[in-house]
Point group: D2
Chain length 439, copies 4
């Protein structure tokens, strides 16, 4: 049945008038360019295509192993939790709630869904589309409330599992309130390393620009720090990144309002970083001009600040440098050939381990960096990026048993089901069986 709903919804979302409607609706509540909003719709549509036909039942695939005697067989099932909750943030008003909601349904759960109230109109429309495509109205409960009310509801209703996507602060509070019955995908201070082999500078510069500044940096996968091998410093990379950042403008929302950090906070952070010895402003670092963005939101130009590696690693600077700014803001640094261990140290000390990129085609270099890091979604190779994971790449943090995933069949199974073992042991009894002694 859910296979049919997915088939129909995927087809509907693929119609130009429907995808256009949702892309524009996303733009009305979430500050991103039309292209970024449209990609969000398309990824959602592709996800639904992935669970057409029998693919929902294939998700519930179990396995069996022969037992110790005739008639015994152990079976490992993926089993639903039952009543569950999905809590989704503002930055992807369609993709995150829909993928998690459908995942919960595919595995047989009964979800209640809450989306950030600033953007929940998108999912409200999407639910109507799903109902139109055959989803029974009783299958999902949709709640509009502030976080406090939702927290109360969760603590009282005790869902067997709660999926939360959003800030680390709320994530930790929820983990406590729900005694750990959660899967979390919180923000990340995501890094990119450029390896010793310099190639395709235009391409790499463009990817850096997109990774750091698309959606005004308000992706949990946005590039927060860039480690360049000295060979890259000698290239035209920084010049090109500067040019690309300068192309961004408010008109088409390639740069735009920041919903959770004010202009003042961001500029203040920049100022503090620039006080570190050897730091310098690469570009940006100024408020946007000529706009009507309310003061409670932030509005700055795409910003990059260089900080020397040795300074980053100092205890007095590390927390400051690695503080996540959920806006168009990144730190850039440089390492020499023999300083790779220092870079790895810097990574090791980070708390969240969401996305990462290692831009290099040098096999041994890749092996070293990947083997010494734990980020959940790690891109490797010349074309590596931190953002833009499509529905067919698992997206989620690693290194934490509470870590969630989104997108792939494996993510759905991990987040929305648990293992249940059923051992059939039906006989026949062996001939001449006698009651043995007690043990």
């Amino acid at each position: 049945m859910l296979g049919d709903v997915s088939t129909k919804a995927a087809h509907a979302l693929g119609l130009p008038e429907v995808s256009d409607f949702f892309a524009k609706l996303i733009q009305r509540v979430s500050p991103k360019s039309y292209q970024q909003a449209l990609i969000e719709v398309l990824v959602t549509q592709k996800f639904l295509e992935n669970f057409c036909g029998d693919q929902v039942r294939f998700l519930a695939r179990s396995f069996a192993v022969p037992g110790n005697h005739l008639g015994q067989q152990s079976n490992g099932f993926r089993w639903p939790y039952g009543p569950v909750a999905v809590i989704a943030p503002f930055n992807f008003p369609l993709e995150i709630p829909l993928l998690q909601l459908m995942g919960a349904l595919y595995m047989g759960n009964k979800p209640v869904l809450k989306v950030d109230s600033k953007v929940c109109i998108v999912m409200e429309q999407m639910l109507r589309l799903l109902h139109e495509c055959g989803l029974p109205v009783d299958d999902v409960d949709f709640i509009n409330s502030d976080g406090k009310t939702m927290n109360k509801l969760l603590v009282e209703a005790k869902p067997r599992m709660t999926l939360f996507t959003g800030s680390s602060r709320v994530a930790e509070k929820l983990a406590d309130d729900l005694s750990g019955r959660v899967k979390l995908e919180d923000a990340g201070f995501d890094w990119k390393i450029l390896g010793p082999d310099v190639n395709e500078v235009d391409y790499v510069a463009w990817v850096c620009d997109q990774d750091a500044y698309a959606c005004s940096g308000q992706k949990c996968s946005a590039e927060s720090i860039l480690f360049m091998h000295e060979n890259w410093s000698k290239s035209s990379l920084l010049d090109k990144m500067t040019e690309l950042a300068a192309r961004r403008k408010l008109d088409d929302l390639t740069i735009g309002p920041v919903l959770t950090v004010t202009t003042e906070t961001m500029l203040d952070h920049a100022k503090k970083l620039l006080q570190i010895p050897g730091s310098r402003l690469l570009f940006g670092g100024e408020a946007l001009q000529n706009h009507s963005i309310p003061k409670i939101y932030g509005a700055i130009k795409p910003t990059a600040i260089f900080v020397p590696l040795e300074e980053i690693l100092k205890d007095e600077h590390y927390p400051l440098v690695t503080k996540e700014i959920f806006g168009p803001f990144q730190v850039v640094t440089e390492y020499k050939d023999n300083q790779l261990p220092l870079v790895l140290d810097a990574l090791e000390k980070m708390h969240a381990h969401l996305t990462a990129a290692v831009v290099s085609n040098d096999i041994l270099f890749l092996q070293k960096v990947i083997g010494n890091s734990v980020n959940g979604t790690t891109y490797a190779g010349l074309r590596a990026r931190t953002t833009g994971a499509p529905q067919n790449h698992w997206f989620g943090p690693a290194g934490d048993p509470r870590g969630a995933g989104i997108g792939t069949p494996e993510a759905i199974k991990l987040v929305w089901s648990c293992h249940r073992e059923i051992i059939y042991d039906v006989g026949p009894m062996p001939l001449g069986w006698k009651v043995p002694a007690s043990t």
Copy 2:
């Protein structure tokens, strides 16, 4: 390397003098018969055999899926957490800590191990054997302490994952203290249902006796409540169970001391149950005589108390009837053909969902009960039992995202590793690629 350690340790444990040594060592600290202690050693040995040769590397099997263009491929790995902790209880001094410890090692973690201090001598000996078999001494930290000290250590050291096996009370505290970075296997109020088809009464009575009273009921999988279809009440089942319980004696520890509940507590619980209308004592209900078991431990005869189903379901009795007594104690009840929904209701209201047994070869009956319950390890069929899961049957609770598993490759992967996605994207760049517009 760990494959070699496992091979050697499995071989060593299989030598009669070694298995005998460990069985007797277990008996000295944990009250169980020689047979039960020996089975614990053998299950441990079989587990080690399962990870001989290349099987440890096969555990780390990853998968890959082609990407969107030449040179892109996404890879799903099982990745270790890094520093982790294992906390194991008194009732299986060898099997539980060893299986979890090796699982942690197999997946590449660095574990610290704490076993209940009453019984930790067993693992202390086992670790020496492992070192002898080639395990580097630095690979495992072994701690002897009380729970309070261990708690402090965990809160300060912040292992990325902590596996706890033990009481629900401590489990919940740990989940809070460690903000949910745990996998738990806590006690269970385990049930068995006898279906409408009566067959092999001798066998079923013997399994009931073992499930409820082996190890004096101190298994987390011990049968706590038995639902008999009325057809079974008419059989000789209860008579036979009474006879079998009467065979148990202190001499060979087929009945023995209860480490965490006193005689008084258990007899008091029996008394309260017997005040429920329609209840009656089936057998037991008395303290053991002529023994030197200290008063801080419990010592009662194998006990079964009948309580009518309708009374169990009443709000005023339900918590009392389903209170877990970690000793040789079970509740028995009966249901008529049309009362199956009441039985399912009774199951639904339970909190912990560890093991269960549905004794029937009636396919439609099995389907109904299994489809309406969520216990993690569920045996089904005429030969179903609640206890005695070998290393090749996943053992663990279901219905809780914090639930752990033990024994099988799937359990090891779930508990001791997380998903990490590495996407290779190495090019070559498409011919004529140009920098696109910002988005």
Copy 3:
């Protein structure tokens, strides 16, 4: 890309006017009722839905296992053969060629397709639809020829793999001509066993009628012999089957022409069977009247002939009784409780092992029959059937390394790809490595 083609083609086939067009087109060339033709279209459509979105790439999922030293990893891929051939029969003009063709494409092969020339117009139309949905015209070669020409082409072009669905005679010739580089799905003498537990007689009778006589028995899964437990003989089963057979009529093609066996041959076969001692005609056994079916085709009423089990097993009768008649024809027999071993003997002696049904909910009975038989697609349980496997049930013979499968992801992978192992071993070299002695 193929995911998109499948998505579009599935959607197109789901449009009422398109599915109606194909159902009627099938009816024009293959003698079956509108319902049966429509189901063929729907199964095809569902199959295409199963490979929407990223599911084609998920089919190509590989796995990897860590090696012996840093930098070594072995990878198991599903690899295409390259140039391959698909040869499909007359009875399912759309489903069989399309499912196999798409399977070949999904795994990356370059197929040449030949469909029985009587019915190839259906696939010719379907290919045009696929091209419309984006399939490049160069991806598939479509050949219309007689078998002889095709055989010549195969022997000369030497495709790396040839999938053949059709008669056993041609299958064996192809296996020889192509030195075994084939996967085969040939006809089967399919059996059904009714177990000791009699239930839902109406339902079972209806399933028997459909299994034996739908499409006038021209399915390779059609029921050819029915073994009834004596308990079923005492029921109204045979009466009901007689009634149901009598409902079938030429008007709506619920009975119709037989393309590969003449009326004379079938009636002659019936006559021979009736000469066996104890045999009797249950129903049918007559030519259809008042029709314009050409003499080169067959046209008889649905026919069932009872032959005693003991006689079937005699060497002089066994080949006659188990000769496959690809038309509306079945043998019925009866066994007593203690004669199950004779039934299993009868099964053991059969050559082809395609579909089978064990109609019983008695677990131990099912276990015995299934454990002693090897048929590829075996239905078990009260609702068991021999025909009507949808796209999500693997369909194919077992017990032969040349056996093909159709429908599921596993079938596609088996038939259309082979294992390729790529072991990466990139270093770094261990420090201080020196050239060892020769060995």
Copy 4:
């Protein structure tokens, strides 16, 4: 049970006196150095370790997918064939027959085993060891005969599957005689390509020497042709290979008798190659001196002949150059940076696709060569080799549906089992079901 046999046999083979016994026994019948013979024993032992404990049952793991209604579930099993045959060659008297034999047993078959009569004493001893370890004597039939008698037996007994390892000529004959009911692992003309990145010349030279000349080249994975990038020609590689070849001597069997090709045939082949324009002798090309090897065997020095790439590709030379010589003999050639397409052409035209090596750490180069070739076991990276696959690397040809594999769990499942689908459909019937119209 077979898990126990494997455990015991692995332990026994690991005892120094037993492995030494088998290594020397292998040396008595198969011309290889002690080291090579010992490695054969150790690989066999490791293989047995891999199937200790429950691992045999894990091989038989099945899967299940939910059906269309309550009570329906489809199950995919790996099912044994029943009576099967294993035919093994002279060059690995222990490893090949044992691994295939155990694979056949693990999956539940009843094998008959024939090993080349010159070397069958090794398996005869090994079978006695297996019997000692608990293998029932009835489980395996062991035949000593010439090939002709065996062929007759197979044609008459019609095993459901025959695994053949040996020469292509016999393989093709068997495929015909058994109508394709075979899995084959025949000889290969195996290639190695050295990429543009020159590194670790000592190591690569040593691997070339071992790949081409260990066991006097009598491995089906032996390096038959070496394609060097021009950068390697400029290195000291060829000099080093010449030195290493010169170290080999009859005394310790690092060079020794060739069992299936005479000295004359090999020297004659060398002469023909040297007549190709631009060809030259790199080293070897002479008969061994001072030995007592009978004339029916071959005895030459390790030999390498350089042939220009352009000449190899000419139709008049290609068959000669790519003729497999099952002895210490290889062709060497060179390609310039822009000649990689010619190299890929040369690979494309080869018939057998067994092992291959691409020696390079250049990701894009690896991608190109691997994507354009189909060899079954392909090593890639600086440390790539063609020989020496351990039991945990699938070994077998690709690109042929009759291709066998050896070693890994996947190989065992492919060769020794087939898919069987069992669909349980047990009801209950939907309420109010009525007999529908016929179709």
